[in-house]
Symmetry: C2
Subunit: 237 residues, 2 copies
């Protein structure tokens, strides 16, 4: 009887994790299209990302419902319960990633191509490449339940923050040099911030994997190190 | 036996809701201090908001744990289950509100008082007043489980979006008129955006109350109406 219950739980948990991975693939696709929208502008890509985002949102609701029913019906404890909570948390982060990607594509669509300086969009594309690589790694460690690599990915979010901070400063310099760039640059500031926030959600995913595997939370104080109040303000929130 | 179970569930649910309200009061206090930091600058308030934010984060973890245990132990269905899910979702939104308030205070702390034009900070203070009023209403309807008012609060988020859009455009105009304002104005753009995002989380709280009371989701298409792609881009994400 015990074995039967455990197996049924395992099957349902596997289905839940598979749905999270489906959601992860869709969220990743949104990020790739959002990054592409920085060089190929026009409303087309924004519509495509929005359509994927609707699917991501739908999956999140399905996962939340399935996860809660799984907890109610199987009453998992300890490791098993953490696995379900981990799936729910990751679905939450992927839903936010989908929203942020959709917003990037919306902002890119309203940029006039002449007004967005190419070196800035190139910088943002590098940031998107870094963030998407990290998303791939986070989804991989979720599949492998690899706590050690989860802690590494989580700790290396500073690489995203550093690149974003330098891009942010570059955008301000462009604004100061030529006020005609200000409107376009203001949109690019948000594109950069959204990419940095996607990076934060990737870190959260790594944090959830670590928690599921170990039952412990990663210690925030170990990560940030010494930073100026200005950099703290730029990269937080 | 049935009555005993129902009563135990009701007591635990009441405790959960009380913790959510405690969290709401702390998040509100963070917002008030963050708004004050726009006129009384310096690192003091930022530290205070950060300390409150740590309490808010702690309460969120406690509520998540208590809510999940409540689902596992009592296996609520229908209305009762939605009540627990509603509490978990609201705790999630309040945690984000705490983060955003903390970031506003951090950004305000690094502004040089001479570089932040007073009309802009005054506009942001008006936006913060509107957002805090709405947070108060959302917490009140959570206490009353008032679905009709929840739908109203949710639908009237456009008032926050409209004020934010006009402030955003005002900030860009200041930047164009005097490039010396650009650094400070870039911080103010984020302060505005964070207030607008707090407004979005307030709407989410209203949406969760509506869902708990009715079992239905509010229909996004009924709210936004006709907007330009530019305004969509400014207010989304």
């Amino acid at each position: 009887m015990k074995d039967h219950t455990v197996t049924a739980f395992d099957i349902e948990l596997k289905q839940l994790a598979d749905s999270v991975l489906d959601m992860g693939r869709l969220a990743r696709q949104s990020c790739t299209l959002a990054a592409a929208s920085l060089s190929e502008r026009g409303p087309g890509l924004a519509g495509e990302v929005k359509a994927i985002d609707a699917q991501v949102d739908g999956l999140q609701r399905t996962i939340e419902e399935a996860g809660i029913l799984l907890i109610a019906r199987r009453q998992p404890v300890a490791f098993d319960l953490r696995e379900v909570v981990c799936a729910l948390r990751i679905a939450n982060d992927l839903e936010r990633i989908g929203d942020l990607a959709s917003n990037i594509a919306q902002r890119a669509a309203v940029l006039e191509s002449t007004a967005a300086p190419q070196p800035l969009t190139a910088g943002l594309e590098s940031l998107s490449v870094l963030v998407i690589e990290r998303l791939d790694e986070a989804l991989e460690i979720f599949t492998q339940r690899n706590a050690a690599r989860a802690a590494e990915i989580w700790a290396s979010d500073v690489s995203v923050d550093d690149l974003y901070t330098s891009i942010f400063r570059g955008i301000l310099t462009y604004m100061m040099e030529d006020p005609r760039h200000i409107s376009a640059c203001a949109q690019l500031v948000f594109v950069g911030k959204n990419l940095e926030r996607i990076g934060d959600h990737v870190s959260n995913i790594a944090e959830s994997v670590y928690y599921a595997a170990t039952g412990e939370q990663l210690d925030e104080t170990r990560r940030t190190g010494e930073r100026s109040a200005e950099v703290e303000a730029i990269t937080a929130g």
